[in-house]
């Protein structure tokens, strides 16, 4: 059932493009401009992915295609496995002792679950921004330089730090205090620092796990504007509880919920405008119209 639900809307996305999202968006139209009108290129493909914590199945049989240079939003009620699924894409959940997953996640045609794949190498190509801003207790400069350093970056670190901070729209705020602790910044600035830190490693995909849930509306808007800017170069997958955010900021929306067995699954996915205005599934409609969750 999931497969059918997930395949059809994606094909439609090809014809519609992310265009209709603009209609919903409160953003300046320039930022959210569609990048491609041709058939989207998929960077990440989840094929029949299931996630387990010990004997408990948290996510079952998920198929998702993540389009390149677009923002894909994962929405759904609490506990439906959105974060688990997101943290599976960069193999972050490998750090949880009882965790294991099944299926395939293809990144540029390579299966991330394959035996010979090193999770450390995966995370260098699939970056992540967390729910709570988590800068290191180091200087702003060192926070950004950390990733490139552990990745053996050979170029000019000062330049890279500046570029990354500029792309994260933080440079003007911090250029005079690069030696101050990253923790001295405000919540929104900290989150942009974490984004700068992630960009500095130059990943192909950036995963964002409710990146605005700890921020005030002004900072939230800044992050959303930043995301619209970043998708020109990166592919973004964002988990959000905030449906307005998904509607405003994303191109594609994936709606998940959980079944009787508490395992999360994908109900419907498609262009954001369609999911919010014309969902095919009753569950989706109930959720986006606020009757559930």
């Amino acid at each position: 059932m999931n497969t059918q639900l997930s395949e059809a809307p994606v094909r439609e996305a090809a014809t519609n493009g992310p265009g209709p999202a603009i209609r919903l968006a409160t953003l300046p139209a320039g930022g959210a401009a569609p990048t491609v009108d041709a058939a989207p290129e998929y960077v990440v493909e989840l094929r029949d992915v299931s996630c387990y914590y010990g004997a408990f199945r948290a996510v079952r049989n998920v198929d998702i295609k993540v389009a390149k240079n677009a923002i894909t939003a994962l929405i759904g009620p609490s506990g439906c496995g959105k974060s688990t699924l997101l943290r599976t894409i960069n193999r972050m959940n490998d750090l949880v002792p009882s965790y294991r997953s099944e299926g395939q996640i293809m990144l540029d045609g390579q299966d991330l679950f394959a035996k010979e794949v090193d999770p450390v190498a995966v995370r260098r190509r699939v970056g992540m921004v967390f729910q709570k801003p988590n800068p290191f207790p180091k200087t702003i400069w060192e926070n950004v330089a950390f990733g490139p350093k552990v990745n053996g970056y050979k170029g000019n670190l000062n330049e890279l730090v500046e570029t990354s901070l500029r792309r994260a729209a933080l440079w003007d705020d911090v250029k005079d205090k690069l030696k101050q602790s990253g923790m001295s910044l405000s919540g929104g600035q900290q989150q942009r620092l974490c984004i700068a830190r992630t960009i500095a490693v130059n990943p192909e995909v950036i995963l964002m796990d409710e990146p605005c849930s700890a921020l005030d509306p002004r900072s939230t808007l800044q992050i959303e504007e930043l995301m619209a800017e970043l998708k020109r170069e990166y592919t973004i997958v964002i988990v959000t509880h905030n449906m307005q955010q998904a509607a405003r900021a994303s191109d594609t929306t994936v709606f998940m919920t959980m079944g009787e067995d508490r395992a999360g699954f994908v109900v419907e996915q498609g262009p954001t405008a369609q999911i919010f205005t014309n969902p095919r599934n009753q569950l989706t409609e109930d959720y986006v119209s606020g009757r559930f969750g």
């Binding site: 960069n90 972050m92 750090l95 002792p97 450390v120 190498a121 995370r123 260098r124 970056g127 992540m128 967390f130 709570k132 988590n134 800068p135 290191f136 207790p137 180091k138 950390f146 990733g147 552990v150 990745n151 923790m183 974490c194 830190r197 992630t198 490693v201």
Partner: protein, 304 residues
Amino acid sequence: MTTAARPLTRHRPLSERIIEVLLFLSAAVGVVTTLGIVAVLVFETLDFFVVVSPIDFFTGTFWSASILPRAWGVLALVSGTVLVAAIALVIAVPLGLLAAVFLADYASPRVRTVVKPILETIAGIPTIVLGFFAVNFISPQLLIPLLGRNNIGGFSALAGGIVVGLLITPLIASISEDSMRAVPRGMREGAYAMGATRFEVVRKVVFPAAISGIMASIILAMSRAIGETMAVLLAVGAKPQFTIDPTESVQTMTAFIAAISLGETAQGSIEFKSLFAVGLTLFGMTLVLNLISGWVVRKYRTAY
């Protein structure tokens, strides 16, 4: 009933006042005791310094309290203490920190719940038992076969340093592990998410973030090593001498105090008074270490 009927004046039942006094007295016991100890130490030491010049005491390197000619150079005892503590730290710091890193970031929860209590049990072994272990195992079974009978005797600073090292390893491991575990998971994840390996995460994120607790644990362990008595009393012998040779038998300040105060030293004699001078010196050293420890914790504390 209207609100105006309820009085706004002070009303404290007797039980409230009694408990306040009791709590204050309990807190006061510790303070009064400390002040009393310091007063006695200072008073007796001043008495000692009437006979022996403080300059000779603090700069002399020969110590002979009971055998004539007497000499009161406390540096002989200080060097024994520092030597034993240094050896102990050389052993305990790497061992303790590696154990802490293992427990905090490498061990599975199941391993940790088994290993940590066992490690902490070592700290609970009566130190006299460890001293006995040094005399009957470390020296004859380990050090003498290893270094040769001509190079090391049955009592040595090395044997004492090793047991004290074993004694303070759990202290360093336990406190350091607590402070490493207090580093939020999010901070570790942030580093992992950028492609850091586990060792990089430990070395570049967890360790620096936990540094205040780690430093405090080391200084606390140092203070403990300097104050340790029974194990060194047995292990290092009773030969006060100014040396940095770990194979020599030495005498530490604490061991001297224990040895002399248990003997038939006459109260009011010069040996008796020297105990207080040595005690005050020891007290000063550990006090300074504790103050440094407090300062380090405040200076390097990271708010997460």
